[in-house]
């Protein structure tokens, strides 16, 4: 006896469906026009162009130099001490330049009266101009040094850099537009990680211990440079609970100098949401289970408002190695949607504060749960966007204060390129 499927097969195999009358004419027209195969080849090209444009944009964004120099902050060891105060005969001229950055220093010109007989006239005119606007008012703190009026020190040159930071009281606005951010996310991860890696270690002799408020000495025993930074940025974000000191002239092995220390108090810290991008590969274990592993670059920025040295930006770059098990619950040739969980090891590539390298963070481990969507440009190459929830396993060796140390249970969004391995 025949199976019903076999009967169905026999009945349909020779069956000729009725074609529309115009079908032969359509076929001839198509045959003359050369078919319709050409329209489908543009699809991968669009993605290739998009990826190249995104990578280029990311490269420009990440590697360009800022228009305004960021070297404006100059921290002096010790405020100039006014000895045998004499009548101030100098003219202080403040250039009426609105600083671009909060941390830009003010340049003070000091001209001795004797050298310029016309200064009394100028004094009258410049005094009006040198009125410090409300927004740039210097807070009156015990540790705030006064402008140098020491004739022997200040009048020796016509210009000097003031230790004052024009504190405007305004918060720096960080504009992130969608297009550069998307470019940065899509193609920039690898470039940024590479750039960070290549520049790593060029200035690592400054052992500033951010998070401990330690007095810093040069490890080689040489005299410390002026780059004493980081001390005062406490491991707690509570303002002022972890003062730091600027020693007058510390030597290796010296005890902490208690002579009129200049306290640089942390007034406020702000940790920005991290930017994450990655290169990932996915190996199918079963039809729906995949092993996902790769590299994930993360960029953390933190802003510290210091009472003495003003605003400082901390930039930390991590390279993570996530290993996850993903379950694809919906898929299409162009997209698939998945959830997964696993672990991620993070290695600090570089850390800097106010543009100067500081000690890197120790490696950390996180538990990661993620869900995401992957868009396949080709069979082997795709782009992914995945919101993820991670919990950083507590590690006392971590020294840097970042968004992730402040939020061990962290929600973030990662994007990147994924290579599909195995039989898809």
């Amino acid at each position: 006896m025949k199976k019903w499927e076999d009967i169905l097969k026999d009945r349909l195999e020779g069956y000729e469906s009725t074609l529309p009358e115009s079908s032969l004419a359509e076929f001839r027209a198509l045959r003359t026009a050369g078919g319709t195969a050409a329209r489908k080849k543009a699809y991968p090209l669009i993605w290739t162009v998009a990826a190249v444009v995104a990578a280029g944009l990311a490269a420009v964004l990440l590697l360009r130099r800022p228009v305004a120099p960021e070297e404006g902050i100059q921290v002096v060891h010790e405020p100039p001490v006014v000895q045998n105060q004499v009548e101030d005969t100098s003219i202080v001229v403040h250039p009426m330049v609105t600083p671009h950055f909060l941390g830009q220093s003010t340049v003070t010109k000091i001209v001795p009266e004797e050298a310029n007989p016309d200064t009394s006239e100028k004094l009258a005119t410049t005094e009006d101009r040198t009125e410090v606007p409300e927004s740039t008012e210097i807070p009156e703190t015990a540790s705030s040094p006064k402008p140098s009026t020491n004739p022997s020190a200040g009048n020796a040159s016509t210009t000097m850099t003031s230790p004052y930071i024009p504190l405007t009281g305004r918060t720096q606005r960080v504009n992130i537009s969608v297009a550069p951010a998307a470019g940065e996310i899509l193609g920039g991860g690898i470039l940024a990680a590479l750039a960070t890696y290549l520049t790593d270690g060029k200035n690592n002799t400054i052992p500033s211990y951010i998070g401990h408020g330690a007095v810093v000495n040069s490890p080689s025993g040489s005299k410390p440079t002026d780059n004493h930074q980081g001390s005062g940025i406490g491991s707690s974000s509570t303002p002022g609970d972890n003062p730091g000191y600027y020693p007058s002239d510390p030597q290796p092995g010296d005890p902490i100098s208690q002579e009129e220390p200049v306290k640089d108090l942390l007034e406020q810290s702000t940790h920005c949401f991290p930017i994450k991008a990655g290169l990932s590969s996915r190996l199918p274990l079963t039809d729906k289970l995949f092993l996902t592993a790769g590299l994930e670059y993360s960029f953390y920025r933190s802003k510290y408002n210091m009472s003495y040295s003003g605003e400082k930006w901390q930039r930390v770059h991590y390279l993570g190695i996530p290993v996850r098990l993903d379950w694809v619950f919906a898929s299409h040739s162009q997209f698939n949607v998945y959830v997964g969980g696993g672990m991620q090891g993070d290695f600090c590539l570089n850390a800097s504060l106010a543009g100067k390298d500081i000690q890197k963070d120790r490696p950390g481990l996180s538990l990661v749960g993620a869900g995401g969507i992957q868009m396949n440009a080709t069979k082997r190459l795709g782009f992914y966007l995945e919101p993820e929830l991670s919990w950083m396993i507590p590690n006392e060796n971590n020294t840097l204060v970042t968004y992730r140390s402040e939020h061990p249970l962290m929600f973030s969004v990662s994007a990147g390129i994924r290579i599909n391995l195995g039989n898809q």
Binding site: W4, L8, R11, L24, G35
Partner: protein, 186 residues
Amino acid sequence: MHKDLDEQELARRCSQGDRLAEDELYRRYAARVYTLCRRYIGDDDEAKDLMQESLIQALDKVQTFKYSGKGSLYGWLSRIAINKALNQIKRHRWRMVSLDLQSQDTLQEPTEREMESIPQEKLLEWISKLPDMRRTVFNLYCIDGYSHKEISEMLGISEKGSAGMLAKARKQLKEDIRRYVKDTES
């Protein structure tokens, strides 16, 4: 004149760019290839486009056709059409995780007499209403004679998955047949 040409000669003339031979090839095989496309692609208009694209591609590559007996030209054309249909299905399909439990198929098998009473258009209609993957696996396994191993490679699924989808397609078709038989008897 071209109506009397055998498959081999027709293919040779087509490879020489004989437009009348191409028209003859279309007249002979288009309707059957169209049926095949309707089996794989649920929508009739899409099936017609796919049939035309398949025949155009076949004519472009007709010089690669090797005659191996009567019916080999249709076999060659049908493989081109099946490949194109699978590509289209893979491009547009969503593979969702099926959360419905595998229920036992307790429906009675349709008899030979019942099957013969069903019009072919009705059979095609039921097949075209099957979900994409079930329809494809049913066509490949039951009608075009591919094994589960071959199907799993063609569609990028496991053999077990292929067998599961075939079982669901069979059950759904049997339900349609039962319903039709019941309606016609009453």
